[in-house]
């Protein structure tokens, strides 16, 4: 059989090495795969959480805080319902220690430092990427606890596509969204409008006043061109405007108008095979105006970011760039100021890969108009012990520049130095089969030079902002995910000790232990899911201890046909009564029903 009779001129495909033998099995080509990296994640060395569009639509969250809090280590404290002042404590750090970006543009205001997460409608979001650990070296101020990049929706497939949704819920919640996008080889454009209104509920337990509602209308628009020479230019704009009702210190009903926006003009090019460059001009606005008096606060910031990626060879991937920022902060009220601050930075990172070893070395120098030069750095190492097991270690520093309020507000001092941190981290990722994945990270984050208001002299009513505070947060996080057949499950847990080292107390409103889990079952046209958050007790001001709680959200979806879907969500299904801030209300059992037009291709 195997003797040769005649020569045969055939190019021998390795895919079927021996095509002549009819029973020979077809051999596969060489397949080289890599994990598509998230936009924010330049390396695989830091713990990352990605919340996808699919997660968002399943969860039916009415705001971003709702999406974030179902991940352990992302503690949320808020003063009431939708739209109320929301603080995020990432891995136990302060609420102004997490850098929030929208499409890569810094969203934290220069007045207070804490981003207005409550004003971002999930309807506009494609994906949320959460990177834990110090990231100031690439992203600058505030990235002490980590970085959250909120990526807005873009059309994905070629052609013109539209989606829409409508929801009604208890507390007179009304949601509406419409989204149209066109994508071709050269042009892409999209426009999305969303409205998210609710009458809410009384924000405080001790209040006898009526409901505290919230109205939010947002738009997201973009226009991009990809030229023949590979240069990509995009103009984009996201904005959110609305009105929020709240109760002031003496329980009187108040309301404020807010405007948040991020606009960007981005050029991207690949001048050579090994060099990518991007130039981004961005403008952000954060505006809050009280309607019962003339108090207001406002930040506008113009930033020019120039980033380059250079793959020197198979081993070295260099990222280097420059960031020039000019920020205007205005405050009218208890203490008024109107100041302009410029901050410039230069950074370089080398991501080194040698076989199973990966190193990341990064450094940044920030030149701030007032406090001068400040350097931050990261040193990380990853070791692929086996194809299933990856070990990680890292040490890095980060900082938070003093805000407008710190420098010019009540007791402010323009000479303040930045708050600084040093984090050490050890971790592992283990994926024994394609269905299961485990992760563990232990961290020790020391933060010093925290800006506190100090009475000078003691006992007087004269306060000065001083770099005196020290905190230290040690913790360990566990993650598990499972996906097989119709089942998807995730669980995360954190055990942490966020301590104020100056007076050896627990940091306020942060749990020492929390556990989150989600379970989703998809079968045919149906999908049901549950999200659970169990949080340990937390300290609040005036020696109040907030009790531990467990809250569960249930959701279900049924596909009416290939384009239409009806969904329902039961928030806090077991009607758990709990507080995130002393005397402030959290939602009881609340029903929301949604109709969604979501054809494939968006």
């Amino acid at each position: 059989m195997n003797t040769i009779r005649k020569p045969l001129l055939v190019s021998l495909m390795l895919a079927s090495v021996n095509p002549v033998y009819a029973n020979d099995k077809t051999l596969d080509p060489i397949i080289v795969t890599a994990t598509r990296t998230a936009q924010t994640v330049d390396d695989a060395l830091s713990p990352v959480i990605v919340i996808t569009r699919e997660d968002i639509e399943r969860n039916q969250a009415v705001d971003v805080a709702e999406l974030l809090r179902f991940h352990a280590g992302l503690d949320i404290a808020r003063t009431g319902g939708a739209g109320s002042q929301t603080s995020l404590f990432l891995r136990g750090t302060e609420s102004d220690h997490t850098l929030i970006m929208i499409d890569g543009v810094k969203f934290n205001p220069g007045t207070t430092g804490g981003a207005a997460l409550q004003n971002i409608d999930p309807e506009q979001i494609q994906q949320i990427e959460i990177v834990k650990g110090p990231r100031s070296t690439l992203y600058g101020s505030e990235a002490i606890g980590g970085v959250i990049n909120i990526i807005t929706r873009r059309g994905k497939t070629k052609g013109t596509h539209a989606t829409a949704s409508m929801a009604i819920g208890e507390d007179k919640t009304r949601k509406f969204s419409a989204n149209v996008a066109h994508t071709s080889d050269v042009f892409r454009a999209g426009l999305a409008v969303a409205a998210n209104n609710t009458d809410g509920f009384p924000a405080r337990l001790s209040s006898t006043a009526g409901d505290n509602g919230n109205r939010n209308t947002s738009i997201n628009a973009y226009f991009g061109v990809k030229m023949n020479n590979g240069v990509d230019v995009e103009l984009s704009h996201w904005q959110s405007r609305g009105n929020n009702e709240y109760l002031n210190f003496s329980l009187a009903a108040r309301d404020q108008d807010f405007t948040n926006s991020v606009s960007a003009l981005t050029f991207k090019a690949n001048p050579t095979d090994i060099w990518s460059t991007s130039l981004k001009f961005s403008h952000m606005e954060d505006d809050l105006e009280q309607n019962q008096n003339n108090n207001s606060s406002r930040t506008t910031r113009n930033v020019l970011d120039w980033q380059n990626d250079l793959e020197l060879n198979q081993h070295h991937l260099i990222t280097a760039g420059v960031s020039l920022s000019s920020e205007k902060t205005t405050s009218v009220g208890f203490s008024s100021y109107d100041e302009r601050t410029s901050t410039n930075a230069i950074f370089i990172q080398d991501n080194i890969q040698y076989g199973k070893h990966q190193f990341l070395v990064a450094a940044r120098n920030t030149d701030h108009e007032d406090f001068g030069n400040h350097a931050t750095w990261n040193l990380e190492y990853g070791y692929q012990a086996t194809p299933k097991l990856r070990l990680l270690a890292g040490v890095g520093t980060a900082f938070r520049a003093p805000t407008g309020n710190d420098r010019f507000g009540f007791g402010g001092d323009p000479e303040l130095q930045p708050e600084t941190s040093r984090n050490i981290e050890l971790g592992l990722r283990y994926k024994p089969t394609q269905h299961h994945g485990f992760s563990v990270s232990a961290f020790d984050n020391k933060i010093k030079d925290l800006i506190n208001l100090v009475q000078v002299p003691a006992g007087s009513f004269n306060f000065n902002a001083v770099n005196v505070g020290r905190t230290r947060i040690k913790g360990i996080e566990f993650g598990y995910d499972f996906a097989k057949g119709p089942w998807q499950a995730k669980a995360e847990a954190i055990f942490q000790n966020p301590r104020n080292e100056s007076d050896d107390t627990l940091l306020l409103r942060r749990a020492k232990r929390s556990l989150t889990a989600s379970l989703v079952y998809t079968k045919g046209l149906y999908r049901i899911g549950a999200d659970m958050l169990a949080s340990g007790k937390r300290e609040d001001a005036s020696n109040v201890t907030l009790a531990s709680f467990t809250t569960v959200n249930l959701n279900a979806s049924y596909a009416l046909n290939k384009d239409w879907r009806i969904q329902a969500r039961l928030e806090n299904a077991f009607n758990e009564e709990y507080e995130l801030v002393d005397d402030y209300t959290t939602p009881g059992r609340t029903m929301l029903v949604e109709l969604r037009f979501a054809p494939k291709g968006f």
Partner: protein
Amino acid sequence: MKTSISLFLLASAALHLAVLGLVDFSSPTQIIDSGSLIRVSIQAPSSKPVTKTSSHKNIEQATPTKKLVSSNSMPVIKPVLKKQKSVNSSLENTHFTPDLVEAPIQKTVTATEDTTVAKHTNDNPNIPSLSKSVSSLLYSDLKRAFDLHFYYPRMAIKRGWEGEVKISLRVEANGYLTHIQVIDSSGYNLLDKAAITSIDRVQILPAAIALLDGRSLDLILPVQYGLL
């Protein structure tokens, strides 16, 4: 500080203008080196003569196949065929058919090839023979070697570049890999180069010396780069 901002801005603007305006970095063209490709003959197990029905079957099957491969494979293989001067168009079909048609048809295809290429016997007097077990041994040897050396260029990952590149190469009798060239580009120079570099690194397949028994073997190796 003000001057340093302006300096930064100027430098950056100048650089970007240079990059955007002056450099033409249109998509890289395919690397096609139509150098000499020596082809290897593999014998069909069946010695039955070609019947009319089987030829007919072949044509029927080959039509969709042709469509599938025409967009990328055909233009690449053509220059090679020209060098061999006397290959007719029916051979063009058959080259890529075995990969795509059902097993029984493959026999037919082979038979067709036998008759078509018979005249080349004199051009290539040293035609090696390879048994099925030898070829799969060699393949697994190659695959092992490649697994150690293949990498995904990180810049391609960042840019979201994916694609399949077809590389032709020769395993010499002494085990060395030579004549490594791209015959079908992935569309990205970076991925093509990475595949070539990876194979270059393999250099030698010691196991091939015994397996090939003094002859060389030409192979086409598809390499797929994919992001998960």
